[in-house]
Amino acid sequence: MALKPPREPLVWALFSGGGMAAALVLPALAAILWLAAPLGLLGPLDHEGMGRLAEHALMRLALGILLPLLFFHWAHRFRYTLYDGLQLYHLSRLIALVTYGAALVLSAGALWVLWSLG
């Protein structure tokens, strides 16, 4: 109802890819970047080194794939959590619009930031 059938496999593939990417890389990134580094367990992050890393073409390519996948994973899964958890079946169109729309805007923002880093 919310989307025409042909689009459903695409958003499901993005959900699935994003779920796998999140499962494989996010715990390590969260542990290193948001806990170990600011707490000084592995020493603070060096701005110069991080800048060089983020400007590397391969890193920008990897983040350009990872970030949209994460956003669309959230959009698809959260959409169904709202349906089932809160029984908002009558708002299905609005929920799909808001979740996929937010993922689209965030992905565009991420690609723009990554593009301007180069």
Binding site: A23, A28, I32, L33, G49, L67, W74
Partner: protein, 186 residues
């Protein structure tokens, strides 16, 4: 089973809209032959029965409160698992904020690092890490059910698929640590 075949006693060929008074015409205890046990099946039976009306009984459904998932631990675990997607969104946004802070220069990056080091933020990120680990474990544990590979017609055992996913997770985590290691002064 209620029937809404109106105007049984009529016979003038007109179809009347459903009304309680029309049901009075049905002789008590008799069920018209055309009435299906399943209600209206959608067959256009109009040629045989000019009094046919489309009628579908409304099923009785027990209303389910929106707190249904608090009744049972398995339901709560399911909703908790589904809500990890919010943490995935948060992680993506925070990585993006980190990139923006980097692009704005050393002061901006230092301010972001200072914010990350605040006690409240550290405690929050410990909870975020716990949630992200919950996502990883639940996701990888489902992998053998979602991915059923075959080699020369023989199915690869689910345990092997599961092990391969966990090995991939550990290997990628080690790679990420190795890539970020030179940027950590300590």
């Amino acid at each position: 089973m209620t029937s809404r075949k109106e105007g049984v006693s009529g016979g003038n060929g007109e179809t009347s809209p459903p009304s309680p008074s029309a049901e009075a015409g049905t002789p008590e205890g008799t069920i018209p032959e055309e009435v299906h046990a399943m209600g209206d099946r959608g067959e256009p039976s109009a040629p045989e029965n000019p009094h046919h009306t489309r009628y579908h009984p409304k099923w009785h459904r027990e209303p389910i409160p929106i707190t249904w998932w608090t009744r049972n631990r398995r339901y709560a675990a399911f909703i908790l698992r589904e809500l990890t997607s919010v943490l995935v969104l948060y992680a993506g946004v925070l990585l993006l904020v980190h990139l923006v802070a980097l692009s704005r220069g050393p002061e901006s990056h230092a301010a972001f690092q200072e914010w990350l080091g605040r006690p409240g933020v550290v405690v929050f990120h410990l909870l975020v890490l716990a949630g992200l680990l919950y996502h990883t474990v639940t996701w990888l544990n489902l992998a053998p059910r979602a991915i059923v590979p075959h080699i020369r017609g023989r199915r690869i055992p689910p345990r092997v698929v599961l092990l391969a996913h966990y090995l991939a997770w550990f290997a990628l985590s080690a790679v990420l640590l190795a890539v970020l290691w030179p940027t950590l002064r300590g």
